[in-house]
Amino acid sequence: MQKFSALALLRHAFGGHEGWRPQWRSPEPKGTYDVVIVGGGGHGLATAYYLAKEFGISNVAVLEKGWIGGGNTGRNTTIIRSNYLFDESVALYDHAVKLWEALSQALNYNVMFSQRGVIMLAHNVHDQQSLKRHIHANRLNGVDNEWLTASDAKAFCPPLNIENSMRYPVIGAALQRRGGVARHDAVAWGYARAADALGVDIVENCAVTAIRRGVNGALEGIETTRGTIETRKVGVVTAGNTSTVMAMADLRMPLESYPLQALVSEPVKPIFPCVVMSNTIHAYISQSDKGELVIGAGTDAYVSYTQRGGLHVPMHTLEAICELFPIFRRLRMLRNWGGIVDVTPDRSPIIGKTPVPGLYVNCGWGTGGFKATPGSGHLFAWTLAKDEPHPINAPFRLDRFRDGYLIDEAAAAAVAH
């Protein structure tokens, strides 16, 4: 792997940057792998990286139907935080935040993790009760989250409207200072480059067409558009398309796939210093390093696999943004897009084994998977390597929907990711 640094840039500048080599190879798939990861998004690539880096398993392929990072990794609003309610969730997401904090250095790839602080607004007494519950629970779990009065929130985020003339005035907020944003594409590319350097084959334009199982039901291999691959372990990390991939192994998943839209404004000079989320009036917003306001909200109402949604959804989002930040009304939407999110009944992910021996799944991240990318990859790699879950992901098993041990963040908090 060519080391990235300011010095390397300088050195290569003299050669007209002709000396840079591909950040990851473009190998033909081999006939056999120890582990095959299906899905070349951030979670899948991170899984492959940690398999090679932490568990010494480098005979690994990541198969991607299109181009890596082209699904939700490249479509999300890049918010990172860990101020979840339940112990299980906090452990999961804070594991990720800790990895984020050293990720650029670990990968030698600047993923631009920016701990700008995430504010969640309270607009009524119920919001306040809910956010306080989070704050107290987070504090006792050793995770930062603090209560701000409306004027504290305004001081932290000057564009915020806290006037009483608002339909739902801001009465306070919860702030996680360690939360923030990162450069989503760089996460996929950084993991791909580092995993590739450790021997992982990243195979793009390679769709899985069948999952082969032996007489005992255990996994034996997969068929792809680029040939048959023999393997005893497959990890499926295909987000919105998890149900369709798992159906190839005759598994019906407790998932529904919805379009989730986001949008950006034209770039402007720095004006917005943090991330602000409002669940009550449905919007979240931050400003990218490039200067665009990055804005998102809830999913469309109907299940779909098409990566677009209805106009009324971004309209409603922008109503909320203009209400919260009246100085942004004259800014303009530059681009709107959609991705497909896979939603579980309890809005928490599934990371673990399946009833098919050798088949593992990491899915159900819904609207909030990006923030978990490093932690998710690390825990899934552990699970694949040891054939048992790490204590952190043990509660996030598939069969919790059978016995009822749910981790119901959405129900408990009704807070969007």
Binding site: L10, N110, M112, K132, N141, Y168, G404
Partner: protein, 1004 residues
């Protein structure tokens, strides 16, 4: 100060109306009909902006919405708007514009140092550095990068304009009012279709506006245009919208239009909306969106004074502006010859026409040759110079072997380039139409697949005025036939591509310089060069989506209108793949940026979300009530007297209810009337409770679950007759509960014969609660026996209150004897007054939701959503008694059988009292079992529950709380700990019913 580059005649401008405007505090003069760009060019101003990354001086490159360079901020104060294209800003008198992304001035910009060090900043350089030392990212690198990035400044004052929205339906929506679009509109209208025609420009006409010589149907093009518009404007079936951009295509032919209403007016009248969003549902859509001219990629192709050739022709023809005095044209397409010829006719010196192709034999080229213009075929540009405006170019012949010959220098002040035309297929692609690559045009063309959407004219590769009009007619007729039927049998199929418009240059022009040293721009605004695209490919980015994201090509505010095809061509060469195999990036809405306010419309302040108020709202308001938002409702939270705070007001209100009587507006509670022969069976299925044996006239507290077994909602239900139930829900849950019920009734139990009707707003509900409540009611009710024997707790009677038909419930959420009077909402205010009058002598006290909360907590009554969340079962909150044990099924029953739902470790509702009676726990505070030792701050702690409700009870003289605690019912009397930042609070677990556990007061 008159504009030196304005011609004395011609153009679609009004020279008699002079307009004064400013750019960066320098005053200029333009005329009515100008855009900011044309007015600047008329004044000889080319330097208008600075590029995003290298801060290179930039001029006006295009004439329309594809302009990548000339971005300015316009206006001031609450109307300051950044990032507008000078080519789209209509000039008004007094217009104030500022250049962007430069400091201290446009001429001298310190940011231009980036250009000097640009070898260090190739595509994606930021991924490779700024990582050491780690802490510097947050403190130094990121703030610096952010300060350098961005284009204009954001507004700092709230927008003072308003916005509006409309819906419309039509048979044929025609997007683009150029020759094809107008022809389509005429044809569709003639065949009886209701037509909407829209165009992004101020004037309809598209390319016709720059046709000075052509004739159509024997008329001058401009005359044909005005005749056509006159015909359209007289038709009752046609609505045409100028300054209106069709920005997005959505499923089922819903098209979003953004209409700009006031920006072109010097002083818009107060209150007139600035923009209007149209949501048009069209049976058929015709996209006559034209084609976008492509720049050529050659070294230093970005200097001010280097323009698209046809853009220059438009400035000449439409605005009578000479964009330069001595011109070098470089082209790979015949259209540039037309620009050169027309400029020459206007007296502009054409130094040379360089054609990168070996021969140009089309009709435009012949005309240029005939006009004696100096044409050099197989010639390229190796260099340009001029700091703030191009001053010369170095040209060189290209041999048949591709070798670049010796250079020569040509002085000039304008370079026109033309790399061909890219059909504007954005909307077609958004509509999920299929595209095919047409080799002869080096362009993607529509290829079916979008139902009810067809393209016409240049947007599907049909160039030339006559062909475009013929194609428009065919498309309009076909759309009318498909939308309204009739006898038209129009075939709308491809016509042969005219040979002389063949243009096929997507590669950079050859030159003799080191490829590492030159900057040949592909994406002008984002400063992406040909070598950046090649670097991305070298670094392994093979998908065009990756190349886009790594280099940022096509991600600027023009979304790649001028750059995408060139980037794709360069990428395809670098990858050594056929161009179609590299693929296209996805076209997304909006076609051009749309104002946030346009999407938000009138939704601001009070209109952001409907405000729902009860019939007594004005009375409460007049009596000093402090309101809280509960869902969309405004509810009176408490009624402070004089200088009372909430604490004292609530204590007083509670004491009044406990000691005598209080009155409360409960109208916000959701109400659903369930009627029909199967009403009871429906109730049995949707609630956990059994309903079959509830007698008419009696009430029952009902609980309903989600499918996962958690509590969805609760409320008292009265049975009015064997086939009629009056259901109440929580205030916030009303809509959700009705949806839940309808969902099951319509999809799971469609055989059940019953109807659900929301009656929330039909009834005003006045709760009279307290020991004296009966005495008050008795004065108002004639035909209901309110005695304890005749009307026990949990019963309902229909009768009259104050002569108004009423349903009177004997129910209580306070634990006191109480009644809830339901009267038709229109009578609510009058009956409220009658209750107040009747209670005057008994000091009847109005109370709000806060007192209601305290009193219900004293009784251990839960509030769904506060004491429960989506994880709590009926048993968890002590409501398992409500479950009909013998019922075969109800929603959620199956889930209750799951092991986790009977786990002994589940959290259960308990009461908590603090050791210090004055202390009120914080709602949301967490609970632990062990006393924290050394430091309570040390985490993690094992949390066993949390405080759900907590108040100071004036009645009990102490703080009380409800909490959900793991195994709580087994912990009665245990001391638990609530660790707060200031210290840990001891609290003892109690029964959640703090007051009158036997319920004697209820049965009074």
């Amino acid at each position: 100060m008159s504009a030196p580059f304005r011609l004395g005649a011609g153009g679609r401008i009004d020279r008699s109306r002079k307009l004064r405007f400013w750019l960066d505090r320098k005053a200029y003069e333009g005329v009515a009909g100008d855009t900011l760009a044309s007015a600047l060019l008329a004044n000889g101003v080319h330097l208008v902006g600075r590029s995003f990354k290298y801060h290179r001086p930039r001029g006006i490159m295009a004439a329309g919405s594809d302009e990548p360079n000339a971005l300015v901020s316009v206006g001031s104060g609450s109307r300051f708007t950044p990032n507008l294209r000078a080519t789209q800003v209509e000039l008004t008198d007094g217009l104030v514009a500022q250049s962007q992304n430069r400091w201290p001035s446009l001429g001298r910009d310190f940011g231009a140092l980036n250009d000097v060090f640009s070898p260090l900043f190739p595509a994606g350089f930021y991924y490779k550095t700024f990582m050491w030392p780690k802490s510097a990212w947050k403190r130094i690198y990121e703030p610096k990068i952010r300060a350098m990035a961005g284009l204009g400044r954001a507004p700092t004052l709230p927008d003072s304009d308003t916005y509006t929205q409309r819906y419309a339906h039509c048979d044929a929506l025609i997007v683009g009012a150029g020759p094809a679009g107008i022809a389509a509109a005429l044809a569709a209208e003639a065949h009886g279709a209701r037509v909407i025609l829209c165009d992004e420009q101020a004037e309809l006409g598209g390319s016709l506006l720059a046709e000075t010589k052509a004739t159509i149907d024997g008329k001058e093009a401009s005359a044909w245009l005005s005749d056509a518009l006159s015909r359209l404007s007289h038709s009752p079936n046609v609505r045409w919208l100028s300054r209106t951009t069709a920005f997005g295509c959505f499923p089922h032919n819903m098209v979003g239009l953004a209409e700009r209403l006031t920006d072109h007016l010097p002083s818009p009248s107060e209150g007139r909306p600035r923009e209007r969003l149209w949501q048009v549902r069209a049976k058929e859509v015709v996209l006559a969106t034209g084609a976008l001219e492509r720049p050529l990629v050659f070294p230093d192709n970005d200097r001010p004074g280097i323009m698209l050739a046809d853009a220059a022709r438009q400035y000449l023809a439409r605005y009578a502006v000479k964009p330069g005095t001595r011109v070098v044209v470089v082209t790979a397409h015949d259209q540039a010859y037309r620009a050169a010829t027309e400029l020459a006719e206007a007296g502009v010196e054409i130094a040379a026409i360089l054609d990168i192709r070996q021969d140009a034999s089309g009709s435009w080229a012949e005309q240029a040759r005939g006009a004696g213009l100096h044409i050099l075929s197989s010639t390229t540009i190796c260099a340009t110079s001029g700091r703030h405006r191009v001053s010369s170019v170095e040209i060189a012949p290209v041999g048949r072997d591709g070798k670049v010959g010796p250079r020569s220098r040509l002085a000039c002040d304008l370079v026109l380039m033309c790399g061909g035309f890219t059909p504007a297929i954005h909307l077609f692609s958004q509509a999920r139409g299929k595209l095919r690559f047409e080799e002869r045009l080096n362009a993607f063309l529509p290829d079916g697949g979008a139902e009810g959407v067809r393209c016409a004219g240049a947007s599907r590769g049909i160039f030339g005025l006559d062909a475009a009009i013929a194609d428009g007619v065919a498309a309009g007729e076909a759309a009318a036939r498909d939308a309204v039927g009739g006898g038209v049998e129009a075939a709308h199929s491809p016509v042969p591509l005219p040979k002389d418009l063949d243009g096929r240059r997507l590669d950079p022009l050859p030159h003799d310089r080191s490829p590492h040293r030159v900057k040949a721009f592909v994406d002008f605004q984002n400063d992406v060069t040909a070598k950046d695209v090649k670097l991305a490919v070298r670094e392994g980015f093979r998908s065009i989506e990756h190349i886009k994201r790594y280099t940022t090509t096509g991600m600027a505010t023009d979304q790649g209108k001028t750059s995408n095809m060139n980037a794709l061509g360069i990428a395809a060469s670098a990858l050594d793949k056929p161009l179609p195999d590299v693929g296209l990036t996805t076209f997304r809405m909006p076609y051009t940026p749309v104002t946030f306010g346009t999407f938000a419309g009138v939704a601001r302040g009070e209109l952001f979300d409907p405000v729902r108020v009860t019939p007594t709202h004005d009375w409460a308001s007049a009596h000093g009530a402090v309101f809280e938002d509960v869902g969309q409702w405004k509810r009176a939270r408490y009624f402070p007297l004089k200088d009372e705070d909430m604490h004292r007001a609530v204590a007083r209100e509670c004491q009044a209810v406990r000691q005598s009587v209080g009155v409360f507006d409960a109208s916000t509670l959701g109400k659903i009337e369930i009627v029909g022969p199967d009403a009871a069976e429906f109730m049995n299925r949707i609630y956990v409770n059994p309903w079959s044996r509830l007698e008419p006239g009696r009430c029952r507290y009902g609980v309903m679950l989600r499918e996962d077994g958690s509590i969805l909602d609760d409320g008292v239900v009265g049975r009015l007759a064997a086939d009629r139930f009056h259901v109440t829900t929580t205030t916030g849950g009303a809509a959700q509960v009705l949806n839940h019920m309808e969902d099951f009734l319509q999809t799971e139990w469609s055989g059940l014969d019953c109807w659900l009707t929301s009656t929330t707003e039909q009834w005003a509900v006045i709760a009279v609660q307290g020991p004296d409540s009966r005495k008050i009611l008795e004065r108002l009710v004639d035909d209901i026996d309110l005695s304890a024997a005749a009307m026990p707790h949990m019963s309902v009677r229909e009768g009259h209150v104050c002569g108004v038909p009423a349903r009177v419930f004997r129910v209580s959420f306070t634990g006191e004897l109480g009644f809830e009077i339901n009267v038709p909402a229109d009578h609510g205010r009058a009956v409220w007054q009658a209750v107040l009058d009747a209670g005057f002598s008994r000091s009847l006290t109005p109370y709000g939701t806060e007192a209601m909360h305290v009193m219900r907590a004293e009784k251990g009554y839960i509030i769904v959503g506060q004491d429960t969340d989506g994880t709590v079962t009926a048993d968890d909150v002590g409501l398992s008694w409500a479950i009909g044990k013998t019922k075969k099924d109800f929603v959620g029953k199956r889930s209750l059988a799951r092991p986790a739902l009977s786990d002994p470790g589940r959290k259960q509702l308990v009461g908590l009292v603090t050791e210090d009676p004055e202390l009120v726990l914080e709602e949301g505070a967490q609970i632990i079992a062990e006393e924290p030792t050394a430091s309570h701050r040390s985490a993690p702690h094992k949390m066993i529950g949390h405080v759900t409700s907590s108040y100071f009870s004036a009645t009990l003289g102490r703080g009380i709380a409800l909490a959900m605690v793991a195994g709580g019912r087994r912990r009665m009397g245990e001391t638990l700990y609530v660790p707060m930042p200031e210290g840990s609070i001891k609290a003892v677990v109690t029964n959640p019913v703090f007051l009158d556990p036997e319920g004697k007061r209820l049965d009074a």
